[in-house]
Subunit: 398 residues, 2 copies
């Protein structure tokens, strides 16, 4: 299947979930779907599509924000998803509102009530790893018949969707592993600089992915390229500051203002970060390198470190700082995402700024510190940005 | 195929290569085989089996040492492996010594000359990723016919071995990715403590895997358990010291001897390391945790940090140090591997010890610092240990 080859190109778990849901729905022309993944013994909501509510291709901000909702289901009969997780068997329901009274599970009507959506047919599939372990549950909702009307799932889609899901779980598992390893690298960096918490990097990763998506839509970037780049930037953005591990304590942990010399030493962290990724061929590492090295460049050319011949030998005279579109797109995006997150967060030495203050600064720096097109792309998606802040708040589990 | 499910349980690339070669050979009752993986545009030798030379199951030390040989082949017709890499097509040869003169490749006789081995039939298979990228080349040598004599590969094995290899490449790719991510975590730790070089951790990982193998053979551990544990320990041992990232510069980088207080602070590094791995369920992370936390325990109970209730809250009175078999096996193994490697290496403040001095110390500490059975297991495999030292020497590419 060509679609499996497409999925196989993705590294990030969110891109994989999106593509998995997309292609599974497509097999039944289904209107909606969602995916839950197993986490600490419960089922955590991870992805959603709903053409009726959010527009096809999740074009509305509401749809993108919905992806960042945060809730869990128990692995039991209190929900259909939980029931399928506990039995490990695919379940097809023709009409969620006409379940026989003896059903061993119940349909939770709260989503329909809240949104006015009308759930009818539901196909719920356990996602199992190659070794049979439950990774999560996918639910496909409201299949369409040849006339385009909501209808029960036909025999063909009841056969092919679980088969397709089954073929994709190797890819899903790999992407979950990639995310896991990235978060572990971040935990390692956190030993040194507790400001670099898991929730900060998850936010910066999500902001970066969404700013890119908004910009790519505006620019009319081709869908394949959009997916490919969006896939990489979430992960790579999470790792933007790992080079701080190489900065001396006296500087990294200084409570007061840095002297000029200390600040110069601090400005080595992008180069250290680039050293971690410099010898790797994969596209992901290439982007990690670009972001680590250039996330402190400014659009007006007043940032650092500029062009570096060999990051492993960073002594000697530096090239001029990069400016404008010479700065890699990924690094321009993370520069904005990182500053936004820092301003919104409280630190030992500062309170969190108010939303108005933060947005005023970002608009003031449009074309100066930040790429003006990216600032506009960012401003267009404030509902999504806010959903990300809620999902990965500092006091909640990251 | 049940064998693919077996492979799918392994995390480490060496275990996967071993199992891949094992099962592929089995399909043709072949005597020998080897695997090369693509690295920086060349083909690096990575694994070998040879029942005639090294005994079945690579039982001899010579066989295990052969796995750690280090050489590369060009991706061209100067070798059969290189030719198959460059064409991307499987190649079957009935008799390596009877190639037609117009063959577009040549058979390198040097291995046979050096070892007295008689290569006859060769099946050489490109290993391609799901997306068609060349990962490496597997060569299966000297198929056997029903009478057990060396013979050309029959039609069945020419069909099934490439098919099997093809099915395994997803697993191979994943294991290569795991290794890659581990090495990147180590590069991150290296930013902080350049003593923790890639080659040091590769050696400690290999010593640990081989000490375990030697011990498990002596103890008669069941083969499945032997493979499973051996699979994890190589990776987990590489990460034993990452907790040093959390130690203050003033201590970690002090050129002289540490004061008592400083030494106490330094002794926090196992706990910091355990913090990185403490919330993860997979068996690999569990072992990473055990090793990070307990690799400075001593068999006689005079080590540290002992039992810790909650590594995330390590203040307050400590439990007694662990002793004897209360120390996890993996940590007892790494304690030995790590000290051995430190003694053999030169550091800013000390010369490398001679082999005699190192072995004398290890024997003197048998039953004191080190588990006596593990010391014996280690002493039995000095040829393998030496091959590992050669392969991952400090001045060569790690």
């Amino acid at each position: 299947m060509a679609t499996i080859e497409e999925l196989n190109r993705y590294e990030d778990v969110d891109t994989v979930l999106d593509a998995l849901l997309w292609h599974a729905r497509n097999l039944a022309r289904a209107d909606a779907g969602s995916i839950y993944l197993v986490e600490d013994g419960t089922l955590r909501f991870r992805y959603v599509h709903n053409d009726t509510l959010f527009g096809e291709g999740m074009q509305t901000g509401e749809g993108k924000a919905a992806v960042y909702r945060s809730h869990t289901l128990a692995m039991d009969e209190t929900s259909i998803v939980g029931y399928v997780a506990s039995t490990g068997r695919t379940l097809a329901i023709d009409d969620a509102y006409a379940l026989p009274p003896e059903s061993p599970f119940s349909f939770n009507k709260s989503f329909d009530h809240k949104t006015g959506y009308a759930t009818k047919s539901i196909l719920t599939i356990p996602l199992k790893s190659f070794s049979g372990e439950l990774l999560g549950v996918m639910q496909i909702i409201n299949a369409r018949n040849a006339e385009g009307r909501f209808a029960p799932f036909d025999r063909e889609s009841m056969t092919y969707i679980p088969l397709f899901a089954n073929k994709c779980t190797v890819i899903l598992e790999r992407s979950m592993m990639t995310r896991e390893r990235i978060l572990r690298m971040i935990k390692l960096a956190e030993l040194r600089d507790p400001k670099e918490t898991g929730s900060h990097v998850q936010r910066v990763g999500s902001y970066a992915a969404e700013i890119y998506r908004s910009w790519a839509e505006f620019r009319g970037v081709r869908p394949e390229e959009r997916k490919r780049y969006g896939d990489l930037i979430r992960i790579a953005a999470m790792l933007h500051d790992v080079g701080k591990v190489g900065i001396a304590d006296a500087i990294l942990k200084k409570p007061g203002k840095l002297t000029e010399d200390e600040y110069e030493a601090m400005k080595m962290h992008p180069i250290y970060g680039a050293q971690v990724f410099c010898d790797a061929a994969p596209a992901l590492d290439q982007m990690c390198y670009d972001i680590a090295l250039h996330h402190h460049e400014r659009y007006d050319g007043a940032g650092y470190p500029g062009r570096i011949g060999d990051v492993m030998r960073p002594v000697g005279p530096r090239g001029a700082p990069l400016a404008g579109e010479d700065i890699p797109l990924s690094a321009r995006i993370v520069a904005l995402a990182d500053v936004y997150d820092a301003l919104c967060s409280s630190r030992v030495y500062k309170e969190a700024w108010s939303d108005d203050e933060v947005l005023a600064l970002i608009m003031a720096e449009k074309g100066a510190q930040f790429d003006p097109e990216l600032v506009d792309s960012f401003l267009r998606i404030q509902d999504v940005v806010y959903a990300i802040r809620l999902k990965f708040c500092d006091d909640c589990k990251s």
